[in-house]
Symmetry: C2
Subunit: 340 residues, 2 copies
Amino acid sequence: MAATMKDIARATGLGLATISSYLNGGNVREKNRLLIEQAIKELHFEVNEVARGLKTNRTKVIGIIIPELNNIFCAEIITEVEDVLRNHGYATMICDCRTDEKREAEAVEFLYHRRVDGLLIMPAGNKGAYLQRFAKAEKPVVMIDRKMQRAAGDCVLVDNQGAARDAVKRLIKAGHTRIGILAGPEEVYTAEERLRGYRMALKEAGIPEESSLTERGNYTIRGGSEGMRRLVQKNPVMTAVFVSNYEMTMGAIIEANELGIAIPERLSIIGFDNLEFAKASSPRLSIVTQPTREIGRKAAELMLRRLAEPGMEKEPAYETIRLKTSYVEGKSVKVLRQEA
Amino acid sequence: MAATMKDIARATGLGLATISSYLNGGNVREKNRLLIEQAIKELHFEVNEVARGLKTNRTKVIGIIIPELNNIFCAEIITEVEDVLRNHGYATMICDCRTDEKREAEAVEFLYHRRVDGLLIMPAGNKGAYLQRFAKAEKPVVMIDRKMQRAAGDCVLVDNQGAARDAVKRLIKAGHTRIGILAGPEEVYTAEERLRGYRMALKEAGIPEESSLTERGNYTIRGGSEGMRRLVQKNPVMTAVFVSNYEMTMGAIIEANELGIAIPERLSIIGFDNLEFAKASSPRLSIVTQPTREIGRKAAELMLRRLAEPGMEKEPAYETIRLKTSYVEGKSVKVLRQEA
DNA sequence: TTGAAAGCGCTAACAT
DNA sequence: ATGTTAGCGCTTTCAA
């Protein structure tokens, strides 16, 4: 069906090597160049990347593994990643592992078999043992948002601790002292960082931490709802809550609506991620946002850089890029008392 | 690095054909089977899909083109599609075309060059001329959510007209007669269907249609906000609005909040898609929802079926699967008067 | 610069 | 049932 290099060779009377050289930016006599270009046009030739991949052992495909495609935060990052990579001629194979470590490991296998040139992963698990395969094959791995313990690769993430600390400090500044947190699962790297930020803010303000004010959820909407309910039940006098991810923020809001808790009159809330939802909420939610596009861009660029490197040096010197979050003011925080 | 079939052949003393036969489910003597399996285990052999693809001219990769990955509706569908396909050994290459026809056409080219076995597309444009390539190559195309005019392929979509008609009828039943609609762009197939449903409902109830009550938006949050604003300005006595997609629903809510319009006291709203947002809204939004998972599943299954078909018959007899939407009751519709 | 030829890892005749 | 062999479309020595 499709024309091959052989066809071009025949049509131009040139040898395969010349065609190949032309296609790969080598030097070709002007006259022949024109000849080739004409033949390519006439025969609608286009290189077969599959065949090329077999020969060069590079598929020009990057594997991407994410916990949930169906999650704005992931989707925004991936959108950017895909854009950058495709502009550089790379295709992406995306695997959604449904926040399941087993599926995640399977996805790594799947992509490895597919001979992807590199792997971008937003880890669901935290033990990156199965990434060894890529390291051994000298194929670059870039982790996004979370760091895996035993994984060899670069990393792009945000300053979670700082973001949480900053948010809680704002609550404190508004006069809140009984501040709850809807934290994420212990196994999740970012969740722990955010929890640490919360604790740090309290400590710095001299507010003693109370265990009843910390509730964990599994980073889902439902987890947010349930956590919120428990938090409210246990702490009748709590005046503010910091929610540490997007899904749980939604869940918390749903639950507050359900329970008839007025925001911010009875309870102040600072959420996490997804500006659009925050704006659509009534009252507008105050939130911490992550620079998703920049995260995606940086990760893709890091990957491209690694791919361009000669032979993946022995001593890789992995990089970690840490980006800043921002705070977007809404109307979900009540000022109890203006602090100095 | 990785072991090849040759290595297995050498290790077992068998011929390549036997190994190949074993790998492809052919008949192999029990004794040899064990031999092969042992060698595979010891040498960590795994077939090179790239090489296989070169030979068989089938890459076991399906191309997916969507308008915005960063859009819950798309993401939910794709999640399902990817799951089904991967369970059948197919990888997916996803291209986000940012709702841009030019990018869409480029994505088709890109994926075609990559020799994907089939194409799943949620069309941004409506002239599917550039899909010809796939038809000519006898590679299946399945369209999701929208139908393209000159495109040859199967289709999975929902009953948009019926859904809109049903929603508007509910408003009418609650006693509303001055009902606005935030419609989508004229070029968008589904948008027109939904608008038609709105008109049909009015007509059936004997309510004359007023042009001032129809506003178009570009299916973005911003488009929803602006449309809502215009609608409200032009129609002081309007009591209800039907919004015909998710992003615009969000935009409409944002704007209503901004303008201080109480929902449903002063304005009733029925939105579209995304249950979670609807639940998180205060008051809970009444919405039309699409069965995203089922759409994805059906589309993937249709693709698999086409791929399994012998030689893509000359007379393809394309299928169109149409799925039902549902209505989820919230508290955003005020009952003005109970109709018979 | 260009051509000839080998070979990447696999499948599929064709023989046996 | 198994072995032999010829390619799939490309890149890449090695000569010329």
